[in-house]
Amino acid sequence: MSEPSLAIRKFSDLANPTRFLALVSTVWPWLAGLTLCLFAIGLYLSFTGLGDYQQGETVRIMYVHVPAAWLSMMCYTVMALSALGTLVWRHPLADVSAKAAAPIGACFTLVALITGSLWGKPMWGTWWVWDARLTSVFVLFLMYLGLIALNRAMDDPTRAAKVSAVLILVGFVNIPIIKFSVEWWNTLHQPASVIRMDGPTIDPAFLWPLLVMAIAFTMLFFTLHILAMRNEILRRRIAVLRRHAARSAGDAA
């Protein structure tokens, strides 16, 4: 009986910025600890595991490249959900979430691009090719940067959030393009091997470290995201207090 009401109360707790701040300060050390543990295990597994008979040692790049690429898409999905929250429910925390996620997404996309390049050089003999997968990820990177620039260019955060929410949702068409580009077009990039309808085709020896690293990266994202959200809430609180201070100084003088 009490379960659903508790869940509802928890959700509305989250909705209040002050309660959210309290929640963040209790949760984040645990999340950070978990992230560190997962990274320790993941890094251990990825360095002790076997080299691939075809790709040799470079297969180890996969353990950072694939999770980063996965995060670049997941982060955008989180932003798109937040954008929906901004436009449909007009929720202030959704604004904060979308804004805080953009720099993090940009960084993980950058990691995916860099590690992809470093993997492509020994495998394909070139740093970069303009094929569908690589190009669409690069477009994603530009979109993240554009969203950051848009947010910075506007003074009023709520208005900026609405405008960027529209842009985020329009840009969401890019995500399925990235995901399926390797299947729709013939490219150099290898097709998906983990998330498939008929189960993973990848050898378990590589799957385990990859999975652990993917979870570790995801946890890292959530840790950074809630901390960045906290910073953004504080930033807005400061802005409100400053306006308040300017008004009350006029009364006093």
């Binding site: 860099i114 910073n231 201070a245």
Partner: protein
């Protein structure tokens, strides 16, 4: 160049970017925290905080 070079480079790059991100979040928090404290020191507090004092 050896394959080990590419592997190391990608791990180092990934670490550098992630570290930068963590650093940004941390510095941002420290800066905001300081600004809030400065405002509070100047006697400007949130309405809810003031009403709690009154109670």
């Amino acid at each position: 160049m050896s394959h080990a070079f590419y592997v190391t480079a990608s791990y180092v790059a990934a670490f550098a970017v992630t570290f930068g991100l963590v650093l940004w979040v941390w510095l941002d928090h420290r800066g905001r925290h300081r600004e809030l404290q400065r405002l509070e020191a100047a006697g400007i507090r949130r309405r809810s905080a003031r009403s709690e004092d009154a109670r």
